[in-house]
């Protein structure tokens, strides 16, 4: 038997971890924007390392079970009619103690980092200079309120490398906030305010989705998170605080659209600063600056906006928005106006 130094073992352990991490990352990183295996925040990173540890231990335990299984079924047993069985033992105290204590030790190895991570990831108070954002989950869209008064719908912008504290509230049913690359999910429960705290470490765009079944269009309750550099975030924030970028020039298609909007039932539910005061649906003041619409279901293109306004139920069954039944030219004008709201 070869004696290995403890060093060799730790090298093997590290090598296995690296191999598994590479294997996992290799088949998941590209083309899977909702992967849980490409952490882009401290929270997601903690979960990831715990995850890899447990996966390794699970794999070892599975290998032991499979090895014992194969030996029992194919090696250390006979088939009926063959020579007498090799063993009729029906108990063995040593073995039984071993397979009670063995798993117990493994679980101890898992539980210590588990509990450390649980406490680390749920700080009771917000970290210093954290950006505290209120998240309202509605059936079926997301609303984000910033402390300086800025509002956003279905597209959350946050600065990189700054602690973020989300305060999650629901005015209707239970939802769950989940951006896999930024960490685990947290339910949004009516009547209580849940918190999610993390620091995003890599700029980028990360899709998220409601993860608790919340009714008919649960599948269509998506959103995007933009992790911006500090400067970009400041710029975006400033733009949000201001009204619409510019009022459309008269005689333009967009200015016709502005009239259509002002006379339409849209104003009951949607706000455009200075024009309407509705609050039931998303704020449209900066609609044109968003990349998606209908809670992340469609790309924000004029065709898609028209499609959405014509028949919201087709895109998002159960949505509260009624079909507007506008004639073609008016619809086009309205779309042009909305797209101009940068």
């Amino acid at each position: 038997m070869i004696r290995r130094s403890p060093n060799t073992y730790s090298i093997i352990a590290v090598a296995m971890r690296v191999a598994i991490a590479l294997a996992i990352a290799g088949c998941s990183e590209t083309g899977r924007p909702m992967t849980t295996l490409a952490p882009k925040s401290d929270l997601a990173q903690w979960i990831q390392s715990l995850y890899i540890d447990v996966t390794v231990l699970d794999a070892i335990m599975f290998a032991i079970v499979v090895a014992a299984f194969i030996l029992a079924v194919f090696v250390f047993s006979s088939r009926v009619g063959e020579a007498a069985p090799a063993s009729t033992a029906s108990s063995d105290l040593g073995l039984e103690i071993a397979w009670t204590l063995g798993p117990a030790l493994v679980l101890l190895m898992i539980s210590v980092p588990t509990i450390r991570t649980i406490f680390r990831s749920q700080p009771a108070v917000a970290p210093k200079d954290a950006l505290i954002i209120k998240v309202f989950a509605h059936q079926w869209w997301w609303e984000f309120d910033y402390p300086d008064g800025a509002k956003a719908s279905n597209e959350l912008h946050i600065p990189v490398n700054r602690p973020i504290r989300l305060l999650l509230e629901s005015p209707d049913v239970i939802h769950s906030f989940w951006v896999p690359q930024l960490g685990g999910k947290r339910d949004v429960v009516p009547g209580q305010i849940n918190e999610l705290t993390f620091v995003a470490t890599v700029p980028g765009t990360y899709p998220g989705q409601c993860a608790e079944f919340c009714g008919l269009s649960h599948a269509n309750m998506r959103f995007r998170t933009f992790v911006d550099s500090q400067d970009e975030f400041a710029k975006w924030d400033k733009a949000q605080l201001a009204g619409p970028v510019a009022t459309p020039a008269s005689d333009s298609l967009a200015s016709d659209g502005a009239k259509v909007f002002a006379d339409s039932p849209c104003t009951t539910c949607h706000m455009i600063q200075g024009i309407s005061k509705g609050y039931i649906g998303p704020d449209l003041t900066h609609f044109g600056s968003r990349t998606t619409l209908a809670a992340g279901v469609l790309q924000n293109t004029p065709e898609n906006v028209a499609k959405w306004i014509e028949d919201p139920q087709n895109v998002k069954p159960g949505a509260n928005m009624p079909p507007l039944l506008l004639p073609g030219p008016q619809l086009n004008a309205l779309v042009a106006y909305l797209e101009s709201l940068k």
Partner: protein, 824 residues
């Protein structure tokens, strides 16, 4: 095949023969009841399976429109609800449990045969109620764990959730009755010599599962009753704007829901522990550890419900506690897996389909168990919960573990049950297609979950990278569908033209193999004497070390003479059939139906049918209050009357019922937004009625003592006094409730009022039932039908009455007296 002892060559009529349609509708034979469970489970399994296939078709491509969002949501809800409540539990408990419990412990039937038939008919009514949405109001569509407050009428109007609530309430009642019946049966009706440590492991699993049912289902019942009140009577148990929290539902549901996982898994463990030793031709390895681990799993399962709720924000302390208890379950579960493998180790294996499925279960279940460890680690769970990773996990447990065990049990026990063999060739095809289809369907779900696909989404975007694995899974689902088709074909072929099964086709180890295949209605001509574990094997071969064992080792037929001549069977009196279980269940169905479609005449008719059935059943007992209906079991193996164990089991279950109500009251009493609070309670009045109720308990004791010494005069007086005091208490309660209404506190006023009225009201209902029960006894006493020999009837009513009084003391302390203490 080696060693096939020929048994009981004299022809005995099988339980399947005779009676016609009416015979089946009125049967209370545990084996016929089991067959009816089988028929209904196979029927609903086809529904649940087709729903799953439709789900997989919809997920074939991104942005698919094969199913509408509404249909998809209904299908995944009904798939889960159907498979758990109408397929897996009925198969494990109703079918295998019912059939095998009396046969394995050496009894002629279960403890309460009519109750058993009632359980079945209620289960069938529940299944029908759950599916009536096809006809009116739509199928339930809020997921199998129907999270409040989505299930409130404001968010889900219509009848769909109503069907679900009422269907599950009926189903839960049926299951609790089954648990009570099985627990009593196993405790009291074991054949002489069958100690607990000699029982087959399947009996251990049934014993512990029954206990779990009794303590887990009341939590679900309470959750559903709150929801029912919210939907029908405008209370606000789950409505945040009234101060309530929808999380209450999750606590109640998972307090039931996690033990429920083991209510399904433990019988599966029991089955594997029967099949593996039989086909390895070795005793089960580590029998005591296997029994203890079942108990430990059940115990721990009651303290882990929070791991379903890590994402709800319970806080780091609760998260850590639930993480640790959840991990602990892995230890006894690991013991089971290793012990099965050690049983195979060194065995002389007979590779039948039943054994294939058992071996398959060991590996597939291990995968599910290991991914379960990941969920126990709360931070990991936050990434995995409500994603397809969880869907993969619980299908590895419930299909790879439980369904594989069920299929193994089919191939194992079907010859005994039907008298015909299942096809082994088609069986092997069935096995391999199941393995391939199952793993192809569910293994990729681990990856989809890791790649962020949330469960319960009817559609997904093409840019998520989920398409290919979804298509692989759909292919797998169709292979699995073909496998199940083969299974159904195998069953029907066996019924029509299957090879006749000998009594003991597998050289079995437990008592059921000592009976003919199929067994006669009375199971055993003579109740066997049990000399050790693996009772039948010892009867065949003798104890270890004897000549028979040497023959067994060499694969020769046993040399020991076998009991081949049945004793005379004329002395065996089986309980008479009854139509009332069926009629009563129809009445319950009418009550549910009428409530939902808002036609109260049907409700009233249903109530009348139920009441009349109960009365009818009462008159069916020709010997009212006899010690036991089966003289061979009086007194039982425990020396205690069967009915007493039944009442104690019921009381155990009621404890959880009231504990759930009381905890809800304590949580909600000071969360009201408006309206009166605890200060409205009238302490002096209630102190008086509490005193009266306590005194009634004293009178009850005196009544029993009088009966036991044969003093009929004082028996009537004390019994009458108990009834009168009970009535005074009820009058006090009516007065209290009406005065609250006059003061403006109604059921729906606020959280305090609704949790008060529901708690105290349910207790009042229990008192009322007790008063009715005692009144019936009083009438019997007045007409001279009670006496010293029937003291047990009074003792049973007394047990219940004392329990109801003790609950009142707790309610009086926590609800009334605590309010008198400032700051409490």
């Amino acid at each position: 095949m080696a060693a096939q002892p020929k048994l009981l060559p004299v022809h005995q009529p099988s339980y399947l023969e005779g009676g016609g349609i009416v015979g089946w509708l009125t049967t209370i034979d545990h084996k016929r009841v089991a067959m009816m469970y089988l028929a209904s489970a196979l029927f609903f399994m086809a529904f649940g399976g087709l729903e799953a296939m439709a789900i997989r078709v919809q997920l074939w491509t991104p942005d698919n429109h094969a199913l509408s969002a509404a249909t998809y949501n209904a299908f995944f809800t009904m798939h889960g609800t159907t498979m758990i409540f109408l397929v897996v539990m009925p198969l494990l408990l109703g079918f295998f449990g019912n059939f095998m419990i009396p046969l394995q412990i050496g009894a002629r039937d279960v403890a309460f045969p009519r109750l058993n038939a009632l359980s079945f008919w209620l289960a069938l009514v529940a299944g029908i109620l759950l599916h009536l949405g096809w006809i009116r109001g739509g199928l339930p569509d809020a997921g199998w764990f129907g999270y409040a407050n989505l299930t409130e009428r404001y968010f889900t109007p219509g009848l769909a959730i109503d069907w679900w609530v009422v269907g599950l309430l009926v189903s839960g009642t049926s299951t609790v009755l089954t648990g009570l019946n099985f627990l009593t049966t196993i405790i009291t009706m074991r054949a002489p010599g069958m100690t607990y440590m000699r029982m087959p492991m399947f009996m251990w699993s049934m014993l512990v599962t029954s206990i779990l049912i009794l303590i887990a289902f009341p939590a679900l019942t309470i959750g559903l009753i709150f929801l029912l009140f919210d939907r029908f009577f405008d209370t606000h148990f789950y409505i945040a704007s009234a101060g309530a929290t929808p999380i209450l539902w999750q606590h109640l549901f998972w307090l039931f829901g996690h033990p429920e996982v083991y209510i399904m898994a433990l019988p599966a463990f029991g089955i594997i522990s029967e099949v593996v030793p039989t086909f390895s031709r070795k005793p089960l390895f580590g029998y005591p550890m296997m029994a203890y681990s079942i108990c430990l799993i059940a115990f721990l399962s009651y303290g882990v419900w929070g791991h379903h709720m890590f994402a709800t924000g319970m806080g780091p302390v609760a998260d850590s506690a639930f993480a640790i208890t959840s991990m602990l379950i892995a230890i006894p579960t690991g013991v089971k897996v290793f012990s099965w493998i050690a049983t195979v180790w060194g065995g002389s294996l007979r590779m039948t389909t039943a054994f294939y499925f058992a071996l398959g279960m060991i590996l597939e279940f291990t995968i599910g168990g290991l991914s379960g460890i990941m969920h126990a680690s709360a931070p990991i769970d936050l990434q995995q919960t409500d994603s397809y990773f969880v869907v993969a996990h619980f299908h590895y447990v419930l299909f790879g573990g439980v369904m594989f065990a069920i299929l193994s049990a089919f191939y194992y026990w079907w010859p005994k049950i039907s008298g015909r063999m299942l096809g082994e060739r088609i069986g092997k095809w069935h096995f391999w297609l199941t393995v391939v289809g199952f793993n192809l369907t569910f293994f990729p779900m681990h990856f989809l979950g890791m790649w962020g696909m949330p469960r319960r989404t009817y559609t997904y975007g093409a840019d998520m990278g989920w398409t290919h694995l979804n298509q692989l899974e759909t292919i797998g689902a169709f292979i699995l569908g073909i496998a199940f088709l083969l299974f159904y074909i195998n069953i029907f072929k066996s019924l029509i033209s299957g090879e006749r099964a000998p009594a003991d086709p597998w050289d079995g180890r437990s008592l059921e193999w000592s009976t003919p295949s199929p067994p006669p209605a009375y199971n055993f001509a003579t109740i066997p004497q049990i000399r050790g574990r693996d009772a039948w094997w010892i009867l065949k071969y003798g104890r270890a070390g004897s000549r028979g064992v040497a023959a067994y080792m060499a694969g020769r037929p046993p040399s020991q003479p076998l009991p081949s001549e049945p004793a005379s069977v004329e002395h065996i009196h089986m309980p008479a059939p009854s139509i009332f279980p069926l009629v009563l269940s129809l009445g319950v169905g009418m009550m549910g139906l009428g409530l939902i479609i808002d036609w109260y005449r049907i409700v009233i008719m249903g109530v009348a049918v139920v009441v009349l059935s109960v009365i009818g059943m009462g008159f069916e007992y020709p010997n009212f209050g006899e010690e036991s209906h089966d003289p061979e079991h009086a007194p039982s193996s425990g020396g205690i009357d069967v009915r007493k164990i039944g009442v104690w089991s019921f009381i155990g279950s009621e404890c959880v019922f009231f504990a759930s109500l009381i905890s809800t009251f304590i949580v909600y009493k000071s969360r009201s937004v408006t309206g009166p609070g605890p200060e409205i309670l009238n302490i002096p009045l209630t102190s008086f009625s509490t005193f009266i109720l306590l005194m009634s308990s004293l009178l009850m004791v005196l009544a029993l003592a009088a009966t036991q010494r044969g003093d009929t005069r004082w028996e009537r007086i004390w019994l009458g006094g108990t009834v009168a005091f009970g009535l005074i208490f009820l009058c006090g309660q009516v007065y209290e409730f009406t005065s609250f209404y006059r003061e403006g506190m109604g059921l729906t006023t606020n959280l305090f009022s609704q949790s008060f009225f529901v708690l105290v009201g349910f207790h009042g209902a229990h008192v009322a039932i007790g008063v009715l029960w005692l009144s019936v006894l009083l009438v019997a006493a007045m007409t001279g039908k009670l006496g010293k020999s029937r003291a047990m009837s009074i003792e049973l009513a007394g047990l219940y009455w004392h329990f109801v009084d003790i609950v009142w003391i707790i309610i009086f302390t926590l609800v009334y007296l605590m309010q008198a203490v400032p700051g409490a």
